[in-house]
């Protein structure tokens, strides 16, 4: 059995699955339930000077009957007093000494940061996460993403924190920034122990077409909310990998953004995360989802021969590179399995209207009819010589493994854009003719 326990910048956790700072980590009661369900850690709902919340606070993006593929909120940091929060953190640590409890903090002045950092350590928290990412409400007051969006300011504040920190410090990064790597480097320069990302993305999920007020609705108005949930995973993965691959960052990463099951978790780990934080999926289904996450990740690591999460972490990072290093001579084409084809012809229209016009509708006679094919109805046929291998048809095909992308041996040696430019500069080759 693979070892799921992690040592994240000195924070020990029986497994990599943490409750992200948010509504599910608001109280000791919830933390007890989370740990009973099998979570490895809890990042407490951000503690700061008292705030007041509004009703309503959350809204969702649904798609094709699937609820909450995206989710946003305009809820602020904890509306409970710092005293209550620190007292409850102590209560949780007393009962769960081997689990990770991390205090998420957001205050403004140097003195307040020093005070809150000390109080976190005093109540037994295993680490601190600095909330530099919250994109609504707090940023209007010069905190949250207002800090995270300015690497110099972030660096200064991390510096303040490090002056007082005796436990590991994680800097939580906002995605609402041109290049997240600059923020990560700032955290590194200021001495942070780790980074976590992504925080939520500025968003409006929808507009009520009767009232013309977006959701979440607060007496005739709404506000820009922080977006999260399954739909943000690709953005999060991109940013995680960018930080993991950056030679200057070199910090442990806690991955956040749309994680809902072990497969998502494995992808985040593969791209450089060591711990994982989950919020929206718990808000949707409750703490119980961690059971499958632990089991699935363990089975996966076993199946692939990894002994620990740490050993697996970052295994996929090297499989991304800048575009200029991709092989211009690699060729793949779409192949249709006519035994599986059900005749929707979505591949045809997607290629015809949406891509590169490389699929014809042809007389079905020479092709085996798949299940239920209408006699005489034209079948899609890929013109392999013209197929650019874009994947679109295989993406729209509703039948698993019906359209596959086959590698074509071109016999030509690898040549990247970089190589191409070099060879042209040396006069070793002529420009590749433009596509007609």
């Amino acid at each position: 059995m693979a070892d799921l326990s992690i040592d994240f910048a000195g924070i020990k956790s029986p497994n990599p699955f943490w409750i992200a700072s948010g509504p599910p980590s608001n109280t000791a009661y919830q933390s007890h339930r989370a740990f009973e369900a099998g979570w490895g850690g809890v990042v407490w709902k951000t503690i700061g000077d008292p705030i007041v919340n509004v009703a309503s606070r959350y809204s969702a993006l649904n798609l094709g009957g699937q609820r909450m593929i995206g989710f946003n909120n305009i809820e602020l940091i904890s509306d409970r007093s710092p005293e209550t929060n620190f007292r409850e953190i102590k209560e949780v640590k007393d009962r769960w000494p081997n689990h990770a409890v991390i205090a998420s903090l957001m205050v403004d002045t140097r003195e307040r940061w020093h005070e809150f950092v000390k109080r976190s350590a005093d109540c037994g928290a295993d680490g601190i996460e600095l909330n530099f990412g919250c994109p609504h409400g707090m940023c209007e007051r010069g905190m949250g993403s207002a800090v995270g969006q300015n690497p110099d300011v972030a660096e200064t504040i991390v510096g303040w924190v490090m002056e007082a920190a005796e436990i590991p410090v994680i800097v939580k990064l906002t995605p609402n920034i041109t290049n997240v790597v600059y923020a990560a480097r700032a955290a590194k320069r200021a001495g942070a122990d780790a980074i976590s990302l992504i925080n939520t993305i500025n968003s409006i999920t929808n507009v009520n077409l009767d009232t013309l007020t977006p959701e979440p609705y607060v007496r005739g108005l709404s506000s820009h909310g922080g977006y999260c949930g399954p739909a943000v995973k690709p953005i999060a993965l991109n940013m995680v990998q960018s930080c993991a691959a950056d030679p200057e960052v070199g910090l442990p990463i806690s991955g956040i953004g749309g994680i809902g099951n072990w497969r998502d978790a494995a992808e985040f780990i593969a791209l450089g995360s060591l711990s994982l934080q989950v919020c929206t999926a718990v808000m949707h289904y409750g703490f119980r989802i961690v059971e499958d996450m632990n089991e699935g990740l363990s089975d996966y690591l076993d199946a692939k021969g990894y002994k620990s999460v740490a050993e697996f972490s970052g295994a996929a990072v090297k499989h991304l590179s800048d575009w200029k290093y991709l092989d211009l001579h690699y060729k793949r084409v779409a192949r249709i399995d006519y035994d599986k084809c059900i005749g929707c012809n979505l591949c045809y229209i997607a290629c015809e209207d949406g891509a590169h016009q490389c699929i014809d509708l042809v007389d079905p006679a020479p092709y085996g009819l798949g299940p239920g094919r209408v006699p005489g109805k034209p079948v899609p046929k890929v013109r392999e010589e013209d197929c650019v291998g874009c994947n679109l048809c295989s993406l729209v095909c509703p039948v698993d493994d019906c359209i596959t992308m086959a590698e074509i041996e071109t016999g030509r040696e690898k040549m990247s854009w970089d190589d191409y430019q070099t060879r042209m500069a040396r006069g070793e080759m002529q420009p590749i003719p433009a596509h007609p």
């Binding site: 059900i342 005749g343 929707c344 229209i349 014809d360 509708l361 209408v374 109805k377 034209p378």
Partner: protein
């Protein structure tokens, strides 16, 4: 004993309620989201009226049932009744690719019902006729599905249309002859009202050939559409056939549609002769109206019956019994009322159904419903248009593209042209005839509505079912080859 109603109003209403409830909005959304939105979708090819099914389903998924109904009714003005009475298993749903993917097709019929019910219930007219008429007049004979399909299409093209029918209300079999639990008559009557609002005039209680002659029609109208349907049940040719409790199955079904359900007389022991879909409608409704025994009597075997498989299953679930390879030889009476049937076993000899000698027995019945096929309207047609050419089977000869007959100005559609097919075929033929009439009178052609890109694709798409319908049994047969 004369037959009598058997049930109280509440029980009768419960037993005859529509067999499937209408989708709730969320159910419709979930079902609509199963549709893959195929390009050149097979369901369209299987729809004789060529409804752009993926489009109307997409509109339900996008919470616009009005636009959905517009798509449906533009292609098929009787979309609400077809949603209920179409044998979708062998048409659109039988061709649905989701059937192959998931083993269960998108419930196109129920979605169509959801959208069309929505506009009828909210009194929204999605079809419009031009305010300025084109000055041309067309007579439509018969207010059944073919006549309505033709009349609505002509009205939308700007014609002044008058529909003549001998009944007191329009809709034809949709109003009088569909199993009540499939469709209550009000649906059909609402459709007729919608067509009236397109400006079509209806003249009821008019007997063709008697109250109105061909000369009248030719004088007053620029074109004539004949959508007369079929006549009464074929004769059995056995003793006792004229007893009062020997009834056309379609007349029995008409009682159900024209009287309160608890006032429809029904036998305690009902024999239904024949095993087509009308026979099934008759036997199931007999059971649902309180018959102790309702039996199909069919001279051939289970594999030969014309009824659809799902209809057969429905009847068995309703507790109907089936006597295959059985034929009635005499209706026996007591005091002038039906008492029993003398039955005999049959066997096939040289491909012909023959009575097995000595196999006769008597079984008690008090109501005998004839569902052995309907007569063609050859008599009426001959009287009205003596020169109209009929084929050997009594069907009006016609051009299948334009529905023109052998007579100038006279067009045809529905059962009297096709010999008796589905409601949806009749509507489609009516619509086709309307376009034929339009082409005849204006020399202009109307196409669509189908996605224009679905025509003329390299390699030739089959197009919509309106141009060249496919049927699933034909599809399966082709695949088996």
């Amino acid at each position: 004993m004369p037959i009598q109603p058997l049930l109280d109003a509440e029980t009768a209403a419960r037993n005859m309620a529509e067999k499937e409830p209408r989708y709730a909005p969320q159910e419709a959304l979930i079902e609509a989201n199963r549709c893959l939105f195929c390009f050149d979708a097979p369901c369209i090819m299987a729809c004789p009226t060529g409804i752009d099914i993926p489009s109307f389903i997409k509109k339900i998924a996008n919470k616009n049932p009005v636009a959905s109904a517009r798509t449906i009714l533009t292609a098929n003005v009787l979309g609400a009744s077809c949603a209920r009475v179409c044998p979708t298993e062998v048409l659109c749903e039988g061709a649905c690719v989701v059937l192959d993917l998931e083993g269960d097709p998108v419930k196109i019929g129920r979605l169509q019902r959801y959208a069309t019910d929505y506009v009828f219930e909210h009194r929204i007219d999605v079809l419009q006729a031009p305010k300025q008429k084109n000055g041309k007049k067309v007579a439509v004979l018969g207010a059944g599905p073919a006549g309505l399909g033709c009349a609505a299409e002509l009205a939308r093209l700007g014609y002044e249309v008058t529909v003549f029918d001998k009944k007191k209300a329009g809709g034809g079999l949709n109003t009088y002859g569909i199993a009540y639990y499939k469709m209550p008559p009000q649906i059909s009557l609402d459709e007729v009202k919608m067509i009236e609002r397109l400006g079509v005039k209806f003249k009821y209680g008019v007997e063709i050939g008697k109250d109105i002659t061909a000369a009248d029609l030719e004088k007053d109208f620029d074109a004539i559409f004949v959508g007369l349907g079929l006549g009464g049940a074929n004769r059995l040719g056995i003793p006792g056939e004229d007893l009062p409790e020997v009834v056309d199955a379609l007349d029995f079904i008409e009682w159900i549609h024209t009287r309160p359900l608890h006032e429809v007389p029904v036998g305690r022991r009902v024999a239904v002769l024949g095993c087509g879909n009308t026979a099934i409608d008759a036997v199931t409704q007999s059971k649902r109206l309180g018959a102790d025994v309702a039996s199909i009597i069919y001279r051939r075997g289970e594999d030969d019956m014309p009824a659809y498989e799902f209809e057969y299953e429905l009847a068995k679930n309703d507790g109907a019994t089936f006597h295959f390879h059985t034929i009635p030889t005499e209706v026996l009476a007591e005091n002038g009322h039906v008492k029993a049937l003398r039955l005999a076993k049959t066997e096939l000899r040289d491909g012909k159904v023959e009575i097995v000698p000595g196999s006769e027995w008597v079984e008690e019945f008090d109501l005998v419903l004839k569902a052995v096929g309907q007569e063609k309207q050859t008599g009426v047609l001959a009287k009205l248009f003596p020169k109209l050419k009929l084929d050997a089977k009594g069907r009006v000869e016609h051009n299948p593209e334009t529905m023109e007959t052998s007579l100038a100005k006279v067009f045809v559609g529905g059962d009297c042209a096709n010999g008796g097919r589905e409601v949806v075929n009749a509507v489609a033929e009516g619509k086709k005839a309307a376009r034929g009439i339009n082409a005849f009178l204006t020399k202009e052609t109307v196409v669509g509505p189908v996605q224009p890109s679905r025509h003329g694709i390299k390699g030739g798409a089959t197009g919509s079912g309106f141009n060249k319908p496919i049927r699933v049994p034909e599809l399966l047969a082709a695949m088996a080859k």
